[in-house]
């Protein structure tokens, strides 16, 4: 990680953007506060990206570094695809929050702290030897130190909340101050509070009072010019009704939409696991007719139940993360063998084994493609942003039913929780693709195939006269009866392979950003889209001939990638693992591809990517 951020920063002309990070104890409401600021930026039509970061413990003791919860939001004009390498502003509600996050603040950045939390005890609990406010460790940074606790309690004393409840309003005080910094009024947030608690509720009143107090406090505080200029401008994107959406919500909506468009009942069969559970929680919460969830006893049962759902004529979906996906391997192999639709969602987390459950990584790609015994090909898709999850879920369903195949969607912990503005789609404008189940016919052959797709027919129990048997033993390539014939095995293995290759026909969507020919082609996949896009954007503006493809179908790989790649001097594959997609691409597509990887459980920093792309251009490595 060479090249200090500020240096590079100065060389590059950028659109305006700013990054704010809220940090405090899990109980301090930082996620909520961050969400509010996100909304304020969103309604002005700005681009934005967020990065919520939760502690791994359910509820760590207050004031400890491992209990710190943070929420970063970056917004601005132009393309805002990543949540920002560094924070311009850090709100730290206690010493632990400062300690954990201080290294994320850019030189010259602003830090806002609650001075009352910097007691000896608080400082020690955070693992500081001495008071960081006094030992020069914040040199080069701007500091707003206010006794937020005291000021909040003062502001709300008339409402008679106890101290504990009263201090819960500190986050609104901080938000008030931040809103003022961005020249925003408190109006929208007051509306939201009234909506949330009820207009006359004492909680509403106290929170509003704290919010306004923070806002007023900012007016009387001396703040550097540099920060004051960060007025949120009004940029107008596509008109329509917008909302914020996380990847998990977007997948849930996408699945429900896809099932509706296919006219299928759908059941998500799952077993709780971080960070996959929210998809199940959202679907449970929506309570849509024809869209169900089933919490199984384990991941194996969940996958088998999902296959059962599809067997009976519903859309079976199963969702998990690393450990659970590993457990599903055998059942997924059966789904490949019996050729039924199945959607498998992997919200990838970091590390082998239990690893880092709350952190993102892209190290399950090879497993998705190859992680089953036997030749058992399936389709692997990857969404590149929270809103893209919505499209990918639908595409997965379309492919699964058209090709009678399992489709794996590779999401990750970052996509699951990150949110972005989303133009709420008009569902009636989305094309339907209703399934036609096999009907009663003479001479039915369960494994006869459509000559175009090579998919077999989906004939469900209840269909008269079509009674038949399927299973995981090798089967005759037409009748589906058990067959030990060597040639039949070779034939049906080839058919299963070719069927998945045929899915390439659905993949007319390799989108290349930038020139069609040039110095560097970056290939990424999944949640790295943000930082890659920004790095590419910046470097193009500086004159580099750099293009970018964020692959959304990782298996089968489209062949025209080879032609595209041949137009560039360097092909660079960027991913959050030890180099998995690059190894897939080196086979027959781009044998000389270079690889940029990071396996820290954290998203790439744009500046690191810029430095690395520049090095590749200059030094060829």
């Amino acid at each position: 990680m060479d090249g200090s951020p500020s240096k590079i920063n100065n060389n590059i002309e950028e659109d305006w953007s700013t990054t704010v990070r809220f940090a405090g104890d899990s109980g301090d409401g930082m996620q909520l506060t961050g969400g509010r600021l996100t909304f304020e930026a969103a309604i002005t039509g700005m681009g934005l990206a967020t990065f919520p970061d939760y502690p791994a413990e359910i509820r760590a003791p207050a004031g400890t570094t491992y209990g710190v919860s943070s929420f970063q939001v970056r917004f601005g004009e132009g393309l805002i695809a990543s949540s920002g390498d560094h924070a311009d502003i850090l709100v730290a509600m206690n010493p632990a929050a400062l300690k954990v996050n201080i290294k994320e603040v850019i030189p010259g950045g602003l830090i806002i702290i609650d001075s009352s939390s910097f007691s000896d005890r608080g400082i020690k609990k955070a693992g500081y030897k001495d008071n960081p406010l006094e030992n020069n460790s914040l040199a080069g940074l701007q500091l707003i130190s206010a006794d937020i606790s005291h000021l909040t309690l003062e502001a709300i004393k008339e409402f008679g909340l106890g101290k504990k409840d009263g201090l819960r309003c500190r986050n609104m005080w901080a938000l008030g101050l931040i809103l003022w910094l961005f020249s925003k009024s408190t109006k929208e947030t007051i509306k939201w509070l009234e909506n949330k608690f009820g207009k006359d509720n004492v909680l509403t009143k106290a929170n509003v009072a704290a919010l306004n107090a923070g806002h007023h406090h900012a007016e009387i505080t001396e703040i550097s010019e540099d920060i004051l200029r960060k007025v949120i401008p009004n940029v107008k994107p596509v008109p329509g009704k917008w909302r914020a959406i996380t990847g998990a919500e977007s997948l849930a909506f996408g699945l429900a939409t896809g099932a509706n468009k296919a006219k299928l009942n759908m059941t998500l069969c799952s077993y709780p696991i971080t960070p996959a559970s929210p998809i199940m929680h959202y679907l449970a919460n929506y309570e849509l007719e024809g869209i169900n969830i089933y919490q199984a006893e384990d991941e194996i049962a969940a996958c088998c139940a999902a296959i059962g759902v599809s067997y009976a004529g519903g859309l079976g979906v199963t969702s998990s993360s690393g450990p659970g996906i590993s457990l599903k391997a055998e059942a997924i192999g059966l789904a490949v063998s019996i050729e039924l639709p199945l959607i498998i969602i992997n919200s990838q987390r970091a590390g082998p084994s239990t690893g880092l459950p709350t952190r993102a990584e892209q190290s399950d790609l090879m497993q998705a493609v190859y992680g089953r015994h036997g030749e058992a090909p399936l389709v692997v898709l990857a969404p590149k942003s929270p809103s893209h999850c919505f499209e990918i879920a639908q595409k997965a369903i379309l492919i699964a039913i058209k090709y009678m195949t399992p489709v794996m969607i590779l999401s990750d912990a970052y996509l699951t929780n990150a949110s972005e503005p989303w133009l709420i789609p008009n569902l009636s404008k989305i094309k339907e693709f209703p399934v036609s189940f096999g009907k009663t016919q003479e001479n039915f052959m369960p494994f006869e195939r459509d000559s175009n797709t090579l998919a077999r027919k989906w004939v469900i129990p209840g269909t008269k006269g079509m009674e038949h048997r399927i299973g995981g033993l090798e089967k005759d390539s037409l009748t589906g009866n058990i067959s030990y014939d060597p040639e039949n095995h070779a034939k049906i293995t080839a058919l299963r392979y070719q069927k998945i290759q045929n899915v390439k026909k659905e993949l007319n969507d390799i989108i290349i950003t930038g020139p069609k020919k040039g110095e560097i082609l970056i290939i990424g996949w999944g949640s790295t889209n943000g930082p890659i896009s920004e790095a590419q954007n910046t470097l193009s503006k500086n004159g580099m001939k750099i293009a970018h493809i964020q692959l959304s179908c990782l298996w089968p790989l489209t062949e025209n990638l080879k032609t595209i790649a041949s137009q560039f001097k360097h092909v660079v594959v960027v991913e959050m693992n030890n180099g998995q997609l690059v190894n897939l691409l080196k086979v027959d597509i781009t044998p000389n591809a270079k690889s940029i990887t990071q396996v820290s459980g954290k998203p790439f920093r744009v500046l690191d990517l810029i430095a690395k792309f520049t090095a590749i251009k200059q030094l060829g490595k």
């Binding site: 909304f39 309604i43 107008k236 596509v238 008109p239 329509g240 009704k241 917008w242 909302r243 909506f253 429900a256 939409t257 099932a259 509706n260 006219k263 009942n265 059941t267 069969c269 849509l288 007719e289 024809g290 169900n292 089933y294 199984a296 006893e297 384990d298 194996i300 049962a301 969940a302 088998c304 139940a305 999902a306 296959i307 059962g308 759902v309 067997y311 009976a312 004529g313 519903g314 055998e330 059942a331 059966l334 709420i424 789609p425 569902l427 003479e442 469900i460 129990p461 209840g462 269909t463 008269k464 006269g465 009674e467 038949h468 048997r469 399927i470 299973g471 995981g472 009866n481 058990i482």
Partner: protein
Amino acid sequence: MGINEKPSQLKPADYASDQEVRWCPGCGDYAILNAVRKTLADNQSDTKNTVFVSGIGCASRLPYYMATYGFHTIHGRAPAFATGIKITNPELDVWIITGDGDSLSIGGNHFIHVLRRNLNCQILLFNNEIYGLTKGQASPTSRTGTVSPTTLNGSVESPVSACELALSSGATFVARGVDTAIKQLVPTLSEAQKHIGTSLVEIYQNCIVYNDDVFKSFTDKSVAIEKQIHLEDGKPMLFGEDNSKGLAINSNYSALETVDLSKNQEHITRVLIHDIKNKTIAYLLSQMDQSTMPVALGIIYRIKKPTLDSNYINKLKTHKNNLSKIMKKGQTWTI
């Protein structure tokens, strides 16, 4: 069956698929297959709405031999597949076919949970107390001392009782049959099919190759009458020649014991009346020691409880759901 035929009255043979049955000659599975076909015929089950779901093992081959829908899945997981099927189409009549290894070794967890959830289906557990398909290793129901390729000096583990485990898992229907007593098995299967909830039927099945005669001590014709008790709800638990013996509870309630009525008619007062809803007695019936007591056959326990799938029926109605509205819930803004 062809798609146009509509026999007015289906016979057992009408439930046979065109696939050749491939078990070892003399295997107990044949008799059970016949009992299953007969049961379906007795109840005039509709082949198109019947699904046989199985795991892996000799027993689990059964679905191939039925002219119904059939799904030969993976080892131990049939209950999980059945769950997906039933919550998607609760109308289907689902039969789980499984072996002792399939359901109680690798599949133990799904066995417990399907019973706990009371999915409306039948489980036929073919218990031959051995792994047949993989050539004869000891299974969780193999008796202590069983000699097998992995227990050359005799198994040291204690066997588990399928019925007892089922009861503790919250089963609502627990019954037992044996491949040599098909006349009794058919009505038991028939009741199982009619029960609303998970019906477990443990069927003792002779594996002629790897565990021959393991049930001989109570199936042999010469002893059957003394070593089997066929339970009937509301009837006294009598067995033996001329019903001369009865089952009673012992003084500290820890086990059942045999009372000999031929010696003393008055003992009849001690003989228990089979109360199909009494779990304690069900436990005691399923724990009886085969060496000293008769083997309990027929329906051991049956109660009513809501099924898992009934919860899904209402949710499966329509695709006109209010997704659009839900997407707009919460904070939105218009540009």
